[in-house]
C-alpha cells in the first residue's frame, strides 16, 4: 500500500464567485471560457433547453447557486479534445449562475446526449452555492427515455428516482426539459458520493 497524501478540504464557493466563474453572464469585465451553451452555434443538431431552479429547505429559490453540466454528444461520447477559445464544436460542458434571471432560474442550450453500453441518456450535474461546504454531484435523466434499464438509475431508492428526471415540455415552442433541484424536503434531490 502506497502512502497517500491528505486530500485538500473542500470549502464553500461563497456568494461572490460570479465575476470569476461566470463573468460574462453577470456583466463583469472578465471573459468566460464556458457559458450556458454546450453546442457549436453552427451545428444543425436539434437543440434542447434545460431550465430549472434550485430550492432551499424552506422552499425558497436559491439565487446564488452555480450549476455546471457535463454531458456526452449524440453518440454517447464525451469530448476528449481540449476546449479552446474558439469554442470549436460541441463542448458538452456548461456553467450558469442562478443570479441573473429575475426568477432565479438557470437555463442551458444543448443537444440530447446519446448513451453507450445500455445506459440511459443523462447529463452530469455539479452544483455549488453559498451554504454548501461541498460541490454536489447529481444527474439529469429524461422523462421521454426508458430510464429503468440504466444501472445507476435503477439502483436509486424507487421513491426518489423522480428527483433526477427532467420533464419534457414543448410549451414555449421548443424542446424544453424542466429540472428543479431541491436541497431538502420531500423532493430532496439524490446527490452522489463520487
Amino acid at each position: 500500500m502506497m502512502e497517500t497524501l491528505e486530500t485538500t478540504p473542500s470549502q464553500t464557493v461563497g456568494p461572490f464567485f460570479a465575476y470569476s466563474l461566470s463573468a460574462e453572464q453577470y456583466g463583469y469585465p472578465f471573459d468566460s471560457i464556458v457559458n450556458d451553451v454546450l453546442v457549436d452555434e453552427r451545428s444543425p443538431d436539434e437543440r434542447i433547453y434545460i431550465t430549472g431552479k434550485v430550492f432551499d429547505g424552506a422552499g425558497a429559490v436559491i439565487t446564488d447557486a452555480l450549476v455546471e453540466l457535463w454531458q456526452a454528444d449524440e453518440t454517447g461520447r464525451y469530448r476528449k479534445i481540449p476546449i479552446d477559445r474558439k469554442n470549436d464544436g460541441f463542448t458538452g460542458f456548461g456553467r450558469v449562475g442562478t443570479g441573473t434571471n429575475p426568477d432565479g432560474s438557470f437555463s442551458f442550450t444543448t443537444i440530447k446526449p446519446g448513451s453507450q453500453s445500455g445506459g440511459a441518456p443523462h447529463i452530469n450535474v455539479m452544483l455549488l452555492m453559498r451554504g454548501s461546504l461541498h460541490l454536489l454531484h447529481t444527474r439529469i435523466y429524461f422523462s421521454d427515455e426508458i430510464n429503468d434499464k440504466d444501472v445507476l438509475f435503477s439502483s436509486i431508492n424507487a421513491g426518489r428516482r423522480n428527483t433526477l428526471i427532467a420533464t419534457l415540455n414543448y410549451g414555449n415552442g421548443r424542446t424544453e426539459y424542466h429540472f428543479d433541484i431541491h436541497m431538502q424536503g420531500d423532493r430532496e434531490t439524490v446527490f452522489f458520493d463520487i
Binding site: 478540504p9 473542500s10 461563497g14 470569476s20 466563474l21 471573459d31 457535463w70 476546449i83 436541497m183 452522489f192
Partner: protein, 230 residues
C-alpha cells in the same frame, strides 16, 4: 444501495450549523455511493488558448491607469493526486477581495473602497509538473452576516477542475497565523487536524526581491478509488 457518506476525514460535513447557511442548504439524506457506476468519467480538458496573457496576474489583468493598491504577493504550488503524482493541464480559477476586503461583486455591501485597478479574478492551467503561479494582492478581511461581528479571515477562493470527475474541487486558501481562524465557522468546519491543509506556507525563498512576498499552496485531489498502477 444508499450508504452513509464515506469517512474522508479531511473533509467538512455538509451540515454545520455554526455556518448558518448550511442549515437550509445541505442535503439531509445520505449521499448515494456511485463509484461502481461511474468509472473513469472524465471532465472537460481546456486548451492553452483559453488562458489570456495576464489571466494569472491579478495585479495587471484589470489595471487601468496604475497598479492596484495593496501588498503584492505570489501564490504558487502544485496540484497532485493522493499519490503525489502531478496533475498537468488542470484548470485553476481564483477570485478574491481586494486589499481593503471588498469584492467587486454587485451583491457585496461591505463599506470599503473598490480599487479601480483590481478585479480579483484569475485563471491558469497547471504545467507539466502540476505547477501553477499567480501574482496578486493580499486580500483583506471582510465582515459578513453569519453572526454578530463576523469577519472572514483573509482568503483566496480556488476552483479546480482536473480531468476526471473526482478531481473537481472548490476550496479557499488562507494565510498563516490569521487571528480570525478561531472565529470563522467556514474554516472551522474542517476537522481540526486537517485545517493546516488550507493554510498557505510563507516561502521566503520564493519571494522576489523588492517586488513580492510569496506563499505556497499545494492542492491534493481525491483519487482514492484508483490504485496508482492499475
Amino acid at each position: 444501495m444508499e450508504t452513509e457518506i464515506k469517512d474522508n476525514d479531511t473533509q467538512p460535513p455538509h451540515f454545520y450549523p455554526a455556518y448558518k447557511s448550511t442549515i437550509l442548504r445541505s442535503p439531509t439524506k445520505p449521499l448515494m455511493l456511485v463509484k461502481d457506476f461511474i468509472k473513469d468519467l472524465s471532465l472537460p480538458v481546456f486548451g492553452e488558448s483559453c488562458i489570456g496573457e495576464f489571466d494569472n496576474d491579478l495585479t495587471k489583468n484589470a489595471m487601468k491607469d496604475r497598479q492596484p493598491i495593496g501588498e503584492r504577493i505570489k501564490v504558487a504550488g502544485k496540484v497532485t493526486d493522493q499519490y503525489g503524482r502531478p496533475l498537468p493541464g488542470v484548470l485553476i480559477e481564483i477570485w478574491q477581495a481586494n486589499a481593503a476586503g471588498r469584492y467587486i461583486h454587485k451583491a457585496e455591501i461591505h463599506d470599503a473602497p473598490l480599487d479601480p485597478n483590481f478585479l480579483g479574478a484569475g485563471r491558469m492551467l497547471t504545467d507539466k509538473e502540476g505547477g501553477y503561479m499567480f501574482y496578486t494582492i493580499k486580500p483583506g478581511a471582510y465582515p459578513w452576516s453569519n453572526h454578530y461581528n463576523a469577519w472572514r479571515p483573509n482568503h483566496i477562493h480556488f476552483s479546480i477542475m482536473g480531468h476526471q470527475i473526482e478531481h473537481r474541487l472548490v476550496t479557499q486558501m488562507y494565510f498563516p497565523g490569521d487571528p480570525l481562524f478561531e472565529f470563522d465557522p467556514i474554516y472551522q468546519s474542517v476537522p481540526k487536524h486537517a485545517r493546516h491543509l488550507l493554510v498557505a506556507k510563507f516561502r521566503m525563498d520564493w519571494t522576489e526581491v523588492e517586488f513580492a512576498l510569496a506563499y505556497e499552496f499545494n492542492i491534493v485531489l481525491n483519487g482514492s478509488k484508483r490504485t496508482p498502477f492499475e
